[in-house]
Symmetry: C3
Subunit: 250 residues, 3 copies
């Protein structure tokens, strides 16, 4: 794989996002993650997965310059793949631990909140669904997963203001579960993965589905419509201008 | 309008409840609010709305002496208008900020929790869905909006006990978002309205609907039945006696 | 009744689990509780119910040695009765207060979280849905009731890890409502029962149903399938071995 490195050690697989400085998500990254997670789901030797990023970013979200070149139909295809991926992770039959090594923004935050547990580094790194601040909407599942972790009140505030949360505030809200120094991040994530994967696999999957399945069924039923509205707004005059400004001025 | 004053300044509309000492809600107030909010929804110059009250009360709720004169069919008509109004506000396409200048009780609390953000004065002012304490039930939407803000556990306790919360406790529960002195209430509400309305309007509406729309669809489907049960209990012997005692002894 | 003692005093009924050292739940206990609660629901003199246990345990859950003798169809019959019972309590038309006098584990925790309010003794007593730790799954309603009290994030952690919570942690999570010394447990539970049952009965039932009914309808619709999956896992090789080890080694 080009942008996702997967290694396995003693039953724990680690998938590392590795694409440039900010691990920007494009269609190849999503295809590779989708494929990787599907294979790990079926791999009898894998008991848990850690999802992390290389460098100072978990991921900064979608590769906007690249998507500004996409015609509408291609963008819809990409978004469908992307929301399918976070749903796959949300319903992954084994524990998935997110080791947030740095900024976890927009589409990156969506991947993080589809996992079972989040560890995050302290300091400057932020986590946020900040789409509204460049005039973009969200997807049904992304909003429902945010509600799942922090409750409706904090979720609405997060998505309607696009506020950026440091690890302390994210922990207080319930958006992450643990703060760990960069040096110990991998070892701690591994410890959590071992703790969760020490449970009986069939019971774990069954219970995880009791918690999540009907919620996921519900948002899957709304995803296509939410993508369509997302795309309408994305290509609207105001938002398009914001996106171009964002690309030019960072 | 007779009991609702609406003023506009730099894109922020303010609707002020202004009916006697306690801003008691009657059919005229609800008609005026409904009409006012519908016009503000369509008004291209209005980017956000502040809802507040005159004097020491936001509103003490329904004008019970007046409703004790209502025959059942008229009361059902009023309640349908009232629950339609809080649903309109809950799904208002622009930010609605509640500036709770004083007691926010029963029907008044329902209007407050249909907004996006609540500022409340400290001191003696209370916020409560206290209907149970005069033997009255509630409406489906009012219960769901309470759950939305404070979660099911606190919501159930609030509605099953009718406890009255001061600003400190309301903030701790998540029932309000900010405590502000009466002198600064309007200026602070205005600041919040500007903050929320600074977001792209189309993205804001789209995201607010992703958070709220299916919840509202769900409670709208139960509202008629809940009104019917509410009215059965309202006109029952016990509750009717409580209501009359309440009117006589305050 | 053999294992459930019911006494009534001034409108408050108390049901006491009384079966051996750990108040283990078997089919007779569940039949007696079901019958007891149905009669108390209809008893015009009963305004509230307290559910508690004798000795150092509220209940340690299912009587596993006994159920290891059950053929599959009998076990399904028992589980259907059991989930019907906690649904009856969850929708009981009068207040039900759980006085948790000691360990409240697995099936015992499910009964506790179907009540309206929980008081628990401090010290060594634990409360937990620990099924995963002997390789067992759960039932749809048990998971939804856990979400109801502590929110989805804490609920998922509780059911996927099977962690045992002391009273302090349970209170912090919202899993219980009050910590009371063993000496004062009954008096305090009685005080709470009087407080809740002081409300108008028709309004209380109506409001409780507004909060809980559609949630219960939803999980009742999934209960049969969840029982079927529970039983598949229960009789699987791994879990069966765990259960036998548990019986032999305690």
């Amino acid at each position: 794989m080009k942008f996702v490195k997967i290694k396995k050690e003693e039953g724990i697989a680690t998938a590392v996002l590795s694409r440039g400085k900010v691990n920007a998500l494009n269609e190849t990254v999503i295809d590779e993650l989708t494929d990787g997670f599907r294979r790990l789901a079926e791999d009898g030797d894998t008991r848990a997965v850690i999802l992390t990023g290389e460098g100072k970013f978990f991921t900064f979200g979608f590769d906007i310059p690249e998507f500004l070149q996409y015609p509408r139909e291609s963008f819809v295809r990409y978004l469908t793949k992307f929301t399918d991926l976070y749903t796959d992770i949300f319903l992954f039959p084994k524990p998935v631990i997110a080791a947030l090594n740095g900024h976890t923004i927009a589409g990156g935050c969506m991947l993080a909140i589809s996992c079972d547990y989040r560890l995050m580094v302290p300091g400057k790194a932020k986590i946020s669904l900040n789409e509204i601040n460049f005039g973009s909407s969200l997807f049904a599942g992304s909003v429902e997963m945010m509600k799942f972790w922090v409750g409706t009140r904090y979720a609405e505030r997060a998505v309607c203001t696009g506020e950026m949360y440091g690890a302390d505030e994210a922990l207080r809200m319930g958006l992450i579960d643990q703060i760990v120094s960069p040096e110990e991040l991998y070892a701690e994530a591994n410890k959590v993965a071992r703790y969760y994967s020490g449970k009986d696999g069939a019971a774990f999957r069954s219970i995880k589905y009791l918690v999540r399945k009907s919620l996921a069924d519900d948002f899957m039923g709304k995803e296509r419509e939410s993508i369509s509205e997302f795309v309408d707004i994305w290509y609207s005059e105001n938002t398009w201008k914001n996106l171009q400004d964002k690309v030019i001025h960072g």
